[in-house]
Point group: C2
C-alpha cells in the first residue's frame, strides 16, 4: 500500500510513433506493484501529438485536463476533461493537440508489457 | 473505440462493507469493452466512508478531487487530488471522508469480477 503524488514519478519523453511534445510517467508499473495492468500519466503539450498507431493492448483512459482530437477510424472524435476513452485491441488510435492552447493530460491503463 | 463523459454512466450507491454516502459508476466494465480490468469512479460524499475491508483484487487508484483518510495497517495515511494509491491483494483498506467538507472522488481500476 502506498500513496504518492503523480508528480513524484519520473517523467520521460514519449518517442514511439513519431510522437511530438509528449511526456509520460509510469504511475503504477511492474516495479511498483502492478500485477496484470499498469497505470500511466500522459501530458500532450500544446502543439503535441501522438500520431495514429496500432497495437494489441487495449487502453482504458480517463481525461484529467484539456481537450484533443482523437485520431481513429471514426471521424471527428474529441476527448476532453472528465471523458472516458476506450481503445480496443488492434484499433488504430492517436491524440492530436497540435491546435490546442493547453496540455491534454490523461490516465491510461494498459495490460503489462514485458519491456515495462 | 468510444469517448463518453463519466457522468453518462449510471451512478449507484455503494453498499459493501457498511459503506455510507458513497456513489459508484462503472466507467469501463465487461459490458463496455473491458477484457481483464475495469475502471470505476467513486464519489465519497462529505460525511461518507468505505470502512476497512479486504479482498484478493488489487486496486490502482487516481484521486480526482478532495481529500480523505486512507484506512489501512499504516497509520496516518491521507490521499488527495493528484495522488496515486496502490492497494495490493489482500491488504486491508478503506477511505474515510467523515470529516471532509467536499467529495472525495477517484478512479479505481480493478481486475474483472464475475459479478461485474
Amino acid at each position: 500500500m502506498y500513496v504518492v503524488n503523480f508528480k513524484e514519478r519520473e517523467e520521460t519523453p514519449v518517442e514511439f510513433a513519431n510522437s511530438k511534445n509528449v511526456m509520460m510517467r509510469w504511475l503504477i508499473g511492474r516495479r511498483t506493484g502492478a500485477k496484470t495492468y499498469a497505470m500511466r500519466h500522459f501530458d500532450i503539450k500544446p502543439g503535441g501529438i501522438i500520431p495514429l498507431h496500432t497495437h494489441s493492448e487495449e487502453h482504458e483512459i480517463f481525461v484529467l485536463e484539456g481537450e484533443a482530437k482523437v485520431l481513429s477510424d471514426v471521424e471527428g472524435l474529441v476527448a476532453k476533461k472528465d471523458d472516458v476513452v476506450f481503445v480496443p485491441s488492434e484499433m488504430p488510435h492517436g491524440y492530436d493537440n497540435t491546435e490546442g492552447t493547453k496540455s491534454f493530460r490523461f490516465i491510461c491503463v494498459i495490460p503489462l508489457l514485458d519491456q515495462e
